[in-house]
Amino acid sequence: MPTMEQHRFRDLEARSLHAGEGDPLLFLHGSAGLPVWGPFFDTLAAKFDVHVPEHPGFGASAAPDWIRDVPDMAMHYLDVLDALDLKGIHLVGHSLGGWIAAEIAIRNTNRIASLTLMAPAGVRLHGVPFGDNFIWGREESVRNLFHDQSFAEQMLARTLSDEEADLALNSRFMAARLGWEPRWVNPALKRWLHRIDVPTLVLWGDDDKLFPPAYASAWTDDIAESRAEIIQACGHLPHVEKSAETASRIVAFLGRK
């Protein structure tokens, strides 16, 4: 089981989940906030020193006004990596977290050994529309996250406590700050993907209703040492819906290099 750690960077306090030993692996979460620690993370923590920080502004972590967009968030994480003095990091990001990871990597890969992007936001393939998770209602949003609707049923059956609902709303506000306009994309990012000079794995569910898997090529076309792997019968949350397969693909990728 992970421990919850509290870090202080400049004027902000941020929470972070931590478990395992080995080479450092930093997991950057998506727009829903700090993930539930499930089998996916246990598998990774069996081989790596896994850190899952809560992004500033999400859940219980403060939203500093000096983070207005994803490039600001990336600069913040570069500060964090310096402060923790981590080296040889395996950087893994999901959705919004994948976008942040890529913005970090185009700036500086000195501390980064590899990059794994799971259904990342941040780059758009023109002419291929994506879902609008800000206009979807709650049930629609949850259903559109999964291929296998039994996961959605399970999530919808849970009622959030007042505190959980408040934390979720904090995350939704911060996600909007970072991703509302232009929606889930930084047009400049694609222009600099060639700067990513570490081995990169792009993972995508074949039935992702938010960001279609066709977007994978927009990443692999521009990152030299990169490959895309499509996970069958899977929606936008591979680490939840196909946790074992997704974890073993990442472990295999990190073992190969």
Partner: protein
């Protein structure tokens, strides 16, 4: 009391069966449902309605701005204001208002308002709003920065109207090397600014500030809430150390009068129910995008909503009369309700929406004539 005749210009020929296939009459309602022939006739009707208000003794005629919706056909209200200026002589023209955060160059709003003020020789009232939540879906603008953009755009516009140009303007969202308005506004120092609002504490605090003292209009709320918000403005002004005048307090409300309460209720039923249930009703995600209201306000609203249940309730004419959200009845009934609000709050600006929802031209005309002859005179003075 000052009387304002206002219409939203809803698209009445809307196919309601088609409307129900979509989550809202805003943003996602396919525009194939708009028929330009019928729409052009709608503009004629509504402009005639507002022009007639001058002859009936209203002090102000008013229009407003909404985007991508059958709820109102005025994405560019200044165009209607310009037409009204040409067809009226005395009446003031209020644009209630322009949605400041939605434009990337607020100087265009300062310019257009200055033009209208000149064209009308000082008959313009300039309203400033943020737009409702749906506008942030319609325009793609980030609702999280809505308040910030509103305040910066407001400062820019007022400075453009009042500071000798050219001058430089710098802010987070708007930066100009040259601000130098041609034409300047006709009125000195600038056209009156009104703030329509749904009553957020932040807006009340900002509008009542002694440096602004902007007239504040509560729109589309239950009677008790209207009284609470208007009195909150008064209390805030007193905390700022001054006594607000009734001219700073306004109430925007759908009104329908007929000979008897029963007849008014019967004739207003379809129009008022269409306004609230077909045109205005929006899912939570469209009405309150994240950041549109502060985190604290949003949390309070979500808890209130959780208590009410997730399905929006059908709003019946009786419920809307009962809550005082709409004033529907005989001239005496309606007059008494307005007097009651005046006694409770001292408000002075009544923004009367005398055409709403699917109400026909004939009923709208009879309504405004009866309101003007049977209700307005006794409330004056």
């Amino acid at each position: 009391m000052q009387f304002v005749c206002f219409t939203l210009m809803p698209y009445r020929p809307l196919d309601m069966a088609e409307r129900h296939k979509h989550r809202s009459a805003w943003v996602v309602l396919p525009n194939e449902l708009y028929d330009p022939e019928k729409g052009a006739a709608e503009y004629d009707s509504y402009i005639n309605h507002l022009v007639a208000a001058e002859g009936l003794g209203f002090d102000v005629v008013a229009v407003n701005e909404h985007h991508q919706t059958a709820y109102g056909l005025m994405p560019a209200p200044n165009i209607i204001a310009s037409a009204l200026i040409q067809r009226t002589k005395r009446v003031k023209i209020a644009v209630l208002g322009r949605a400041l955060p939605l434009v990337n160059n607020p100087i265009t709003i300062a310019e257009e308002f200055a033009m209208l003020d000149n064209l009308s020789r000082g008959r313009l009232i300039a309203g400033f709003v943020r737009g409702i939540g749906t506008e942030y879906h319609a325009t793609g603008l980030n609702p999280v920065f809505s308040h910030e953009r509103f305040h910066e755009a407001h400062d820019l516009i007022v400075q453009a109207w009042t500071r000798p140009g050219p001058f430089e303007f710098e802010s987070e969202n708007y930066n100009y090397r040259y601000v130098n308005l041609w034409p300047r506004p006709y009125q000195r120092p600038h056209p009156p600014v009104w703030i329509p609002s749904q009553g957020s504490a932040e807006t009340i605090d900002w509008a009542a500030d002694p440096s602004r003292r902007y007239p504040f209009l509560v729109t589309f709320s239950a009677h008790d809430l209207v009284a609470r918000y208007l009195n909150a403005y008064r209390d805030r002004a007193r905390e700022f150390g001054y006594e607000p005048s009734g001219d700073q307090l306004g109430w925007a409300v759908p009104i329908y009068v007929a000979d008897t309460d029963e007849r008014a209720r019967e004739e207003a039923k379809a129009p008022i129910e269409s306004l609230f249930n077909e045109y205005l009703n929006n899912p939570w995600e469209m009405l309150l995008p994240p950041g549109y209201t502060s985190l604290g306000s949003t949390k309070r609203m979500m808890k209130a909503r959780a208590a009410l249940g997730t399905r929006p309730k059908h709003q019946s004419v009786d419920a809307l009369i009962e809550s005082g959200t709409a004033l529907i009845g005989s001239p005496q009934t309606v007059r008494e309700k307005i007097e009651k609000m005046r006694d409770l709050t001292g408000f002075h600006n009544l923004v009367a929406m005398l055409q709403f929802g699917v109400m026909t031209d004939a009923l709208a005309q009879r309504n405004m004539e009866m309101f003007a002859s049977e209700v307005m005179p006794r409330l004056r003075g």
